[in-house]
Structures are given as C-alpha cells and as structure tokens.
C-alpha cells in the first residue's frame, strides 16, 4: 500500500499569546493528490501550510512528510515540501530573477553545474527565461508569483503547498497560473492549494478541506459540496472553461 505523502495527526497549534491556530487537525494527502484548502480569512489555512513545510511545529500531535515527523527533522520537510507564500514579494530573497531561482538549489550545496541546469529548466518551464536578468522588485504581481513558484520548483520538491496563489492576480494571471498548476499536477506533483477561488480550482483539485477556527470541519470530494455554494461565505460554484 502506498504511504501518504503528508499526514496531519491530531495537530493543534497555539501561538505565543495562547491563541489557537490549529485545533486537532487530522487528514492525509496521497502522492499525486491535489487538494484545495478553503475557509474564511483567519480560519487557519496559512498556519496549516506552514506546518506542512516545517516552518511551524505543532504544539501537540504530529505532522509527517513521507513518514518523517517534522518535529524530528524539519529540514527533511522543507526539502520535500515547497511552500509558495501568499505574499510573493516576501518570498523573493535575491536581487535578480536568476539569482532568486538559484537561491534554493545553492542552499542544497549542489554542484554549480546542477544549480545551472535546474535554474534554466525551471525558468524555461515557467516562461521566465526572458526575465532572468531582471531585478525582482521591478516584476509585476503575476511575474512575482511565477518567480515564487519557480524558486520552489528549482528545489524539486515532491509536494507543493500554495497559500492563496490566485490572490492579487488579474484574470489572465489567474488562468496562466492555473495552467501551470495543472501541468504540475499532470507531472505527479502533490499539491495543497489554500484558496478562496473555489471555482478556479474545481478542475484542479479532486478534494476540498474546509477550515473554521483552526479546525477542519469538512473533508470531501467536489461532488459532496454540490448545492452548498454559500458554505462558509465561499463564492457560488461556476463553470470555468478549462483548456
């Protein structure tokens, strides 16, 4: 039997001021699966994603990435789970596009030839090659989002978690990003997408988790939510013309 890529086991998280960030969250994600994480602002989606990447560690319970507990080896989690932040600008570390994509592979202490190979591959894949020498702060929101994804892809993680990837993008930007995510899914990458744009990801994700006050209150397939368009303030279902 295949081992889940990501497991949350009864995970709770308290912030320093004792505010509850996560409340006994349990679910698992199989390799290659794409799930959407929905819920109102402040419901705990970003906190949950940070636990997957090992940036935050549970106060109780455990998160396991390919069987390895993040409390025991957070670096293993970061190597296998790439995280795309909600604010792409905050994720960009270097001055130029090429350097920023190379940042991750260089941290892995790979030979320079391998760093170059990965960076060029990812820049081509995301269509950022013409912008390779451009300063990162001069990029548009859509380009910054693509760069954030490129920086994560260059580390070749098996799982990618994306925090509100469609926010702050215009319609062409959203559809371009969606196409990129569909390609990633087709390549077998496990995706966890926290989003308010449920109608956008209904063709991408086969399963939806709904969060409220730090807890997962619903977990089901797309069909399970039919006729529940107003659930937790989410927008009504609509048809998106997928290519």
């Amino acid at each position: 039997m295949t081992e889940p890529a990501l497991i949350f086991e009864d995970v709770s998280f308290l912030y320093a001021d004792r505010t509850r960030g996560l409340d006994r969250v349990s679910f698992s994600v199989m390799p290659g699966e794409c799930i959407a994480l929905c819920g109102r602002n402040g419901s705990g989606k970003s906190t949950l994603l940070r636990h997957a990447n090992g940036l935050a560690l549970p106060s109780s319970g455990q998160v396991r990435v390919f069987g390895v507990c993040t409390k025991k080896d957070a670096v293993f989690a970061r190597l296998n789970v790439g995280m795309v932040f909600a604010d792409s600008s905050a994720q960009i570390v270097e001055e130029r596009v090429y350097e920023d994509v190379a940042f991750g592979p260089e941290n892995l202490n790979l030979p320079m030839s391998e760093v170059k190979r990965r960076v060029e591959k990812v820049l081509n894949w995301t269509g950022l090659s013409p912008l390779a020498a451009k300063r990162t702060e001069t990029l548009s929101s859509g380009e910054k989002r693509r760069l954030a994804i490129a920086g994560v892809l260059a580390m070749e993680p098996k799982i990618i978690v994306l925090d509100e990837p469609f926010s702050n993008l215009d319609w062409p930007g959203k559809t371009a990003l969606l196409e990129e995510l569909l390609r990633l899914r087709d390549l077998g990458t496990t995706l966890v997408v926290a989003t308010h744009d449920v109608e956008l990801v209904q063709g991408l994700c086969s399963r939806i988790l709904i969060m409220e006050k730090g807890a997962v209150i619903r977990d089901g397939g797309l069909d399970d939510f039919a006729g529940e368009s107003q659930i937790l303030g989410l927008r009504p279902w609509g048809r998106i013309p997928y290519a």
Partner: protein, 252 residues
C-alpha cells in the same frame, strides 16, 4: 518601476561591471584604506580612481547623488561643526560666531575622505550583484582560521538585501503618511516619531519575512560556492590601482 540606484547593483556591461569582484573589492579596500590619513594632495590623486571608475561605469550618477542627499547633508554639518567650533585663525564672522580657517580645512579634508570611501563603496555595490558581494567576502575570509566566513558573508548579504528595502519602505511610509495628512502635524518631533515608528515596524516585519522565506528554502551557511574567473586584464587593472595608490602614499 525604476531600478533603485544606491546600495544595489544596476544592470550594465561596463568594464566596471565586468571587472572581477575580488579585484574590485581589493581596489576598494586599497583606495579606502589609503584615504584615511591622506592629505589634500593624496586625496586629490585618490579621487581620480572613483572618478575614472564612475566615468566608465555608465551608471546614472545624478540619480545616485539624489539618493545620497542625506549623506551630503551629513557632510555639510560635519564641515560646519569643524569650521564653527575649532579654535584658530578666524576666516570670517557669522553673527556672534567665527568661522575658523584650520577648522574649515580639517572639516573639508575629513568630509573628502568620507566622500571618497562612500563613493568607492557605492560604485562597488552598484556594479556588483549582492550574491557576488557575499561570495567575494567569503572568498577573502575563507583562508582565515577561526573566522566564521560563511556566516559573516551571509550577514553582509542580508544587510545589502535589506538596504534597498529600507529605502523603498521609507518612501512608502512617507507617501502613506502624506496621503493621510501628516503635514497637518506641525510638531516636527512628533512627525519624526510617527515616521520612525512606522518605518521600524515595516523594516522589522520585512526582516522577519525575509528570514522566514530563507528558512522555507532550506537556507544554510554551507552553500554552493560561486565560481570566480579573473582575466589577465582584471589583474592588470588591480595592479595599476595598487601601483597608483602606493605612489600617492609615497610621494603625496
């Protein structure tokens, strides 16, 4: 959006951009080091180095000068303080206070030295990407035993990453406060306090986000080492600077 001019590398393919970063840093250290303790004649000679470098750099010098406005104000106050408060022969009388000739001369030399060092530093930073500066510092520190070269280089890289951000944040904070009528606050101290508090908060938040983003991408001190290639021209240019600086130190 325009490229920030100061404290960060600008695109270009000038000889200064292409000069090996290790040679560039060595030339900067030599020129800057020679400036300390140098008299007016030596300073005039040393000033030719950044002047020549600026001429071939193709950088937008006027824009850089505008970004350094606060630095020029600081230099002005430095000269004024020396001129007004150093005892000695009076050059002229400004109301109740006299301008001292030796004070003015000393202040001007001091300001010149500071300007020279800053000009070299800005030219270096404006023509060398941060990642390259970080790698160069690490390359120079690596042979020193017991020195945490990777950590020092990382700290320097972080600082260089943050400086343009701080400049951008100060503009953003200023605009945001103006949009909400900060001009109505007549007390300049209160205005400064409002500005400084907001700027500090933004800078701390930015630093925290940067640290988080670096951690998420497995940041470590042991990174892929950068490749360096110094051509014969690079070394010849450095030798030229070294010979010029040595001559000035010896004769001027």
């Amino acid at each position: 959006m325009r490229e920030p001019a100061t404290f960060s590398a600008q695109s270009g393919s000038s000889p200064l951009h292409d000069w090996d970063s290790r040679c560039k840093l060595a030339a900067l250290v030599m020129t800057g080091g020679a400036a300390f303790g140098a008299g007016p004649a030596a300073l005039a000679g040393l000033s030719l180095i950044p002047a020549a470098a600026a001429a071939v750099s193709g950088l937008a010098l006027l824009r850089i000068a505008k970004d350094l406005k606060v630095f020029f104000i600081f230099l002005f106050f430095l000269v004024a303080t020396h001129a007004l408060f150093t005892p000695g022969e009076e050059l002229m009388q400004l109301g109740w206070i006299g301008v001292s000739r030796p004070g003015l001369a000393h202040g001007l030399v001091l300001a010149w030295r500071l300007f020279l060092v800053t000009a070299c530093g800005v030219l270096f930073a404006a023509t060398t990407p941060n990642s390259r500066i970080r790698a160069t510092v690490e390359w120079f520190l690596r042979p020193l035993p017991g020195v945490p070269h990777a950590r020092i280089a990382s700290m320097m890289g972080l600082l260089l990453s943050l400086l343009p951000g701080i400049l951008a944040s100060s503009n953003a904070v200023s605009c945001a406060q103006q949009a909400r009528g900060v001009e109505q606050v007549k007390n300049p101290v209160r205005r400064l306090r409002l500005f400084a508090t907001a700027l500090l908060r933004t800078v701390f938040s930015r630093s925290q986000n940067l640290a988080l983003a670096m951690t998420a991408r497995c940041y470590s001190d042991t990174r892929t080492p950068q490749e360096f290639k110094a051509s014969a021209q690079d070394i010849a240019a450095l030798a030229g600077v070294a010979a010029f600086v040595a001559t000035l130190r010896f004769y001027a």
